[in-house]
């Protein structure tokens, strides 16, 4: 039995979210192998991978014409899971993994759990925790049966960095071609260029605004602060519905669930649906004119005051120390 980690690589390096998966795999008793979609790893990447303790690593090089649809990714992964004899598959809970791995799970008759915030070996068992009802309940499960079990984790939950060692041996395999699906074609894929910021669900710091910012143009105060902190910008549903910002910025039960180490909520009242999406953030700062706003019940630090005055000041103060 093995653990298979689906590794995300960005700019030639293993993403932090994937390192979280490695630290989980290192804490389990079985050996782990890795897989990613991309060309043969460079020698730097290869040494990074082997130092982490992967015993085998699989890659596949999609050709330019091949659409990386969920179906074609699954066509690479399903035989790989069988060949590597993996009983646990660890991956980050993003849409690509969610779609392709659920296709694999249905194909291989495995069990799949996503948005997982805790994985630990307890004796002979593997224990998993997952929030339900947008974080209002926390559920604990024990894996049973031989798998494969697909476990998709929420980013930023596993803070331990994986151990590294030198001179570990690792076998590298290319293969398991992606097979296309002629019923589906990617026509276009565009990244909106203004968006150099980390994705909300993976962001380490988020500055978010609500109706208390008064008008759309005041989001520039958040943008400025986000520039200074290397943060992402989030929003309440009220301002998304008002068209101030796009739905991709909405935090909450019908938006994104986020868990950054710092969440700054400016002019957000803290409705239950908003809190659902962000109350597992490590540190929460609330800036609100109303001392009775519910957001203060979840906040670590609070400033009772006008966000339009506080935000620029905060930006200046932080700039001065960074």
């Amino acid at each position: 039995m093995k653990t298979l980690i689906i590794v995300d690589i960005e700019s030639g390096k293993i993403k932090k979210t994937s390192l979280e998966l490695v630290s989980i795999a290192q804490s389990l008793t079985v050996p782990f192998v890795g897989a990613y979609f991309g060309p043969e790893p460079t020698s730097e990447l290869k040494s990074e991978i082997s130092a982490l303790g992967f015993s085998e690593f699989y890659f596949t090089t999609p050709t330019a014409q091949q659409a990386l649809t969920a179906g074609s990714l699954a066509s690479f992964l399903s035989p790989l899971i069988a060949k590597s004899q993996s009983s646990i598959i660890l991956a980050t809970n993003h849409s690509t993994n969610r779609d392709s791995l659920s296709l694999c799970a249905a194909h291989l008759k495995g069990a799949i759990l996503n948005d997982v915030t805790h994985v630990a070996q307890t004796g002979a068992h593997i224990e998993i925790k997952k929030p339900l009802y947008a974080g209002k309940i926390l559920s604990t499960y024990q894996l049973k049966g031989n798998g494969p079990h697909f476990i998709l984790t929420r980013p930023n939950q596993f803070s331990n960095l994986p151990n590294t060692q030198s001179h570990l041996s690792m076998a590298l395999f290319e293969g398991f071609e992606l097979s296309g699906d002629n019923r589906i074609k990617i026509v276009e894929s565009v990244k909106s260029s203004s968006q150099a910021r980390p994705d909300l669900s993976e962001a380490n710091i988020i500055v978010a605004g609500g109706r208390g910012l008064k008008e759309a143009s005041n989001f520039k105060h958040l943008e400025n602060l986000a520039d200074t902190l290397g943060a992402s910008v989030g929003a309440s549903r009220a301002v998304v519905d008002a068209g101030w910002v796009g739905h991709d910025k909405q935090v909450g039960q019908t938006g994104k669930t986020v868990a950054p180490s710092l969440y700054i909520a400016a002019g957000i009242s803290g409705a239950i649906q908003h809190l659902a999406g962000m109350s597992s953030s490590k540190v929460i700062v609330a800036i609100n004119t109303d001392p009775a706003a519910p957001i203060f019940q979840k906040a670590t630090y609070g400033i009772v005051g006008d966000a339009l005055e506080v935000l620029p000041m905060l930006n200046t103060e932080i700039k001065a120390i960074l």
Binding site: T69, A70, G71, S95, R98, D99, S102, L103, A105, A106, H107, K109, A111, I112, L113, N114, D115, E127, I128, P131, L132, Y133, A134, K136, I137, S139, Y141, Q142, G147, N182, R183, I184, K185, I186, V187, E188, S189, K191, S192, D199, L229, H247, D248, Q250, T254, S261, L262, Q273, K282, I284, Q297, T300, Y301, G302, I303, E309, M313, L314, E317, I321
Partner: protein
């Protein structure tokens, strides 16, 4: 025989719901809960109503897995919005169903209704806000062997094909051309779901809800997990309100973020 447009929906606790744990610490006391149609599924229902006239003789079938004592109400809402027929898939137990069990129940029900060649498409919300998983539609796609397009914010329909724009992580917009029938999940932005009208509600009372039962108890073919416990999330410590004039508060905040919690 006309064509079928399927919409999978789920009934979920209202977003205002606050939960109490059951005595066994393995269940939730749902007595006080108000149930609603999962908000993302409303986009799927609306989309089906919108496209119905473009596919000759088509009928909208809504289906749900849930206990009929309450799930009928969600189906009636969809019928009142404009769906034609409903199927309620009940099971002796609805606790801790595996998403694959649910997908299997939906797949078997759809296949029992007739061949997929008579199906225009299968629609669902991109995620249900109770489990927050978003897995059932893609599992269903695999079981029915349909092409999959998740999280649609825009769909253009033509005979035999849909052009789907989807919003991915990192603000990537992807456009797919998908052959029909397909499994497509719907995101906010796709359309504005209508409220059921009074005549709609009256008509819904006469529409057919068909009952189906499925059994997984002890016989789930899928390797799985056991629920060990449920708990409420830990309380957060009391807030530290900063004092002094605004400038002083901001300075103090920066100091605390830097030195006390070390997050900047």
């Amino acid at each position: 025989m006309g064509q079928k447009i399927y919409v999978c929906l789920k009934q979920v606790p209202d977003t205002e719901a606050r939960f109490k744990l059951g005595e066994d610490n393995k269940s939730i006391d749902l007595q006080q809960v108000k149930w609603v149609v999962n908000p993302y599924d409303e986009y799927a229902i609306e989309e089906a109503i919108k496209i119905k006239s473009s596919f000759a003789d088509s009928q909208i079938f809504v289906l749900t897995v849930g206990p009929k004592e309450r799930a009928y109400e969600a189906l009636r809402t969809a019928l009142a919005m404009g769906a034609d027929e409903a199927i309620c898939i009940d099971s002796p137990s609805h606790t801790n169903l595996n998403p694959l069990d649910i997908a299997k129940a939906l797949a078997d029900t759809i296949l029992a209704e007739g061949p997929l060649t008579d199906v225009v498409t299968v629609l669902a919300g991109k995620v249900s806000i109770d489990q927050g998983a978003g897995l059932v539609p893609s599992l269903l796609a695999q079981l029915l062997n349909l092409p999959l397009a998740t999280m649609a914010t825009k769909i253009s329909w033509s005979q035999g094909m849909a052009t789907v724009t989807r919003e991915l992580e990192g603000s990537v917009m992807e456009t797919l051309e998908v052959g029909l029938p397909a499994m497509i999940t719907c995101n906010k932005g796709l359309n504005t779901p209508r409220y059921p009208s009074l005549p709609g509600i009256m008509k819904a009372k006469k529409k057919i809800i068909k009952d189906v039962t499925f059994f997984v108890e002890g016989a789930s073919p899928f390797s799985s997990w056991d629920l060990s416990k449920m708990e409420l999330p830990p309380e957060r410590p009391q807030v530290t309100l900063l004092s002094g004039d605004t400038q002083a508060q901001v300075k103090e905040l920066v100091k605390k973020l830097r030195e006390e919690s070390k997050v900047i």
